[in-house]
Assembly symmetry: C2
Homo-oligomer: 424 residues x 2
């Protein structure tokens, strides 16, 4: 038996609801725990988590010769460090086990009942320990919007923007998974009318809709990774909410970049959708004009057709969608980002997270931050409960969702959902 | 017996040369290996390393009830996570063992010979695994010099500079210890006369003389660390060379800060000098005017009197000192840096590194980077071999050294020495 999980006609014996983002063609990896199980690795299938620790300990991966205990860990780092070839084989083997025509697990009732955990019983944790986190700024629409608002509409893009994927280092320690509430941060701001800065809770708390890729292979200091090699290094993707405090940012960020405006928290969706699962969802990127330097040139389709949305749910109310966009419009692709990041010899670690920067489209309904959606506070957004938003308020929940659709198959990311609590 | 390692009259039975920075009052921690020993923790005494793994396994710390194997590791993180009280007791116990009047180890020839390793036989490795690295910009002389060169001499300091310790996130993965050579990085630059950016080796490779503190205590997301609490979080200090490629930096850094200009490498001295050892070297900091917001106020002496120097050694030649300065002049102190960094709830991890920013004094002989020393290329520096430098050339070794002196005792940091190899 040799199964390719990406085969669109595959079906699983596990019930997968039609609108589920977790069919047998996806099989994203995550770390979960329950009231009766310690943290360990699982994959999502329909409304269940398949417990990989259980399967490994009971010989279901014996032919793959995986390291002992590789799933029985708090993070996926050791697993993804096995490399794309090996993790791809594990994913295909899981598809084989879940395939409707394979009786191995399907007809082994005791094993099946222990291995399949209802998602409702589980808590999802950080999938990886993140040694380094970088944030790019790769949407031309977002960079143009910000440049228009804060600088000059005629020269919205800075001179370097079309020549390199602008990026900066972010804080790895404060990345949290979906479901972890955050407190409104306090900080130093300088209101335009004030002589001196003041201290207090941010008045301009914002989300930024981003995707992040996670590396599964280490590079050595001094050795660049080319755009062509980059695919070997990328294990998969999550949705990334780059929380931002705009008033803190404006006061602090010149000349060395964002710092406390960002590092109080970033939130991610807990399932890592593998690059393997996304291979069929590749699309051409936009034309880059002027042409880029040789180290940034690439071949093939390096953008991804991933539908994204953001909703805001005021406390005690229904959610309102405030953004609908697509990852496919990114000007700089992930291969270029990784090639640029390493061209000076900077080394990559397993578990590193590389976020895209805010993903905005051309239309205001596709802007990826409240700053842009409400255009610096000038265009309030009406919620379904009648209230208005220019930024995020205490009690609001921000929900980001995404999926890639192809051949009638939905490769979902699930969601990243974060409640904002009042400042402490 | 109860010994305080800071007692200036203590002497060791281990010979400590007069100009050594590693007397019994210092006892910095590091990770070393030899041709016959796996990486593990040691402390420096004179020209020897005391093997803490050996001492622990042979019962010399039995009264301290340390976790098994705490020294027998690639990094000090687990050890420093024991907290300042415990690590301080370990340091005092080591002083007791090394004290000239204590026969325990002195007269136990077999143990003594196994526990004391000549430094010449050992290689020093990274002392900690660094989960997060932040770089501040806390020398008013450095910030003024840079502002004068690149902006406006009349308004050299940006409006936020005196109100908060400006900082940004750096790359943790590329921090390497003294002795690891680096290659000149390549990157994108835009020469003033060019229409388009070009790619190639940096033409303006520079060092930045900094100190970095390392945290030994974790904080929880959402919980600020006050200036008063900061002392509990700081385990110790190293010298930090924040390598910089000035031409790459100028082209890339607006608007999100330095990125590839910095992340190709940072070099540190391998011995962590503990805050305990530095307690007697505290001095008053400069007056801060205007006054700072309440969360940045502090009590007591939070600056440190640490003499620092930088030398450059062209290949096959003698070294030339290019900078002599002191850490005491920093405008923003480490307690303020940590309080600012966490005031928004950003969480601290064990092993995090927080660098000071370039340490420059008032006099040109005390400037901490070639950019300042050679004033943007206009004042070449003569080397002892007759050659001139405006930036660092291939084959050069950059050596930084530091020590705190007090009561006739020299608390040394050793050195961070890095050779620059040609671009690959």
């Amino acid at each position: 038996m040799s199964i390719n999980a990406n085969n669109p006609s595959l079906k699983s014996w596990v019930n997968v609801p039609e609108d589920s983002g977790f069919p047998i063609q996806n099989l994203p990896f995550g770390i979960f725990r329950t009231s009766y199980l310690e943290p360990g690795a699982g994959i999502a299938i329909g409304e269940y988590i398949l417990d990989l620790t259980y399967l490994h300990e009971n010989g279901f991966f014996s032919e793959l010769k995986l390291p002992r205990g590789v799933f029985n860990q708090k993070y996926l780092n050791d697993f993804i460090a096995l490399g794309r070839e090996k993790t791809g084989k594990v994913r295909n083997r899981i598809a084989e086990l879940l395939w409707e025509e394979n009786a191995e697990l399907r007809d082994n009732k005791p094993a099946r009942e222990l291995a399949l955990i209802p998602m409702a019983e589980a808590e999802m944790l950080m999938p990886v320990s993140v040694p380094n986190y970088t944030d790019f700024y790769s949407s031309i629409e977002h960079a143009t919007n910000v440049g228009t608002m804060f600088r000059d509409p005629e020269n919205a893009l800075l001179p370097n923007w079309r020549h390199l994927p602008v990026g900066y280092h972010g804080r790895a320690s404060s990345i949290v998974p979906s479901g972890v509430a955050i407190h409104r941060p306090k900080g130093q701001t300088k209101p335009p009318e004030a002589d001196q800065p003041v201290f207090g809770p941010t008045k301009r708390l914002d989300f930024e809709l981003e995707m992040a890729f996670i590396t599964g292979k280490e590079s050595r200091l001094g050795n660049p990774v080319s755009t062509q090699e980059a695919d070997e290094y990328i294990f998969g993707f999550v949705i990334f909410n780059d929380w931002s405090a705009r008033d803190i940012q404006v006061w602090e960020y010149v000349p060395l970049g964002p710092f406390l405006a960002k590092n109080f928290a970033s939130s991610i969706s807990p399932w890592i959708v593998t690059l393997d699962a996304l291979e069929p969802c590749r699309v051409e990127g936009p034309e880059q004009e002027p042409g880029v330097l040789p180290y940034l040139r690439y071949e093939g389709k390096k953008n991804f057709d991933i539908e994204l949305e953001v909703a805001v749910r005021p406390e005690g109310s229904q959610e309102t969608r405030v953004c609908q966009t697509n990852f496919r419009y990114m000007y700089w692709n992930v291969n270029q980002q990784l090639a640029h990041h390493t061209v000076n010899g900077c080394n990559i670690r397993v578990g590193d997270m590389y976020a895209s920067g805010t993903i905005s489209g051309k239309d205001p309904s596709s802007y990826g931050s409240m700053l842009e959606i409400a255009w610096k506070g000038t265009k309030p957004v009406r919620m379904s409960d009648g209230s208005e938003r220019v930024f995020i308020e205490d009690g609001d929940e921000v929900i980001m969702r995404g999926y890639a659709g192809r051949d009638g198959v939905r490769i979902g990311f699930g969601e990243v959902r974060t409640k904002v609590l009042p400042a402490k």
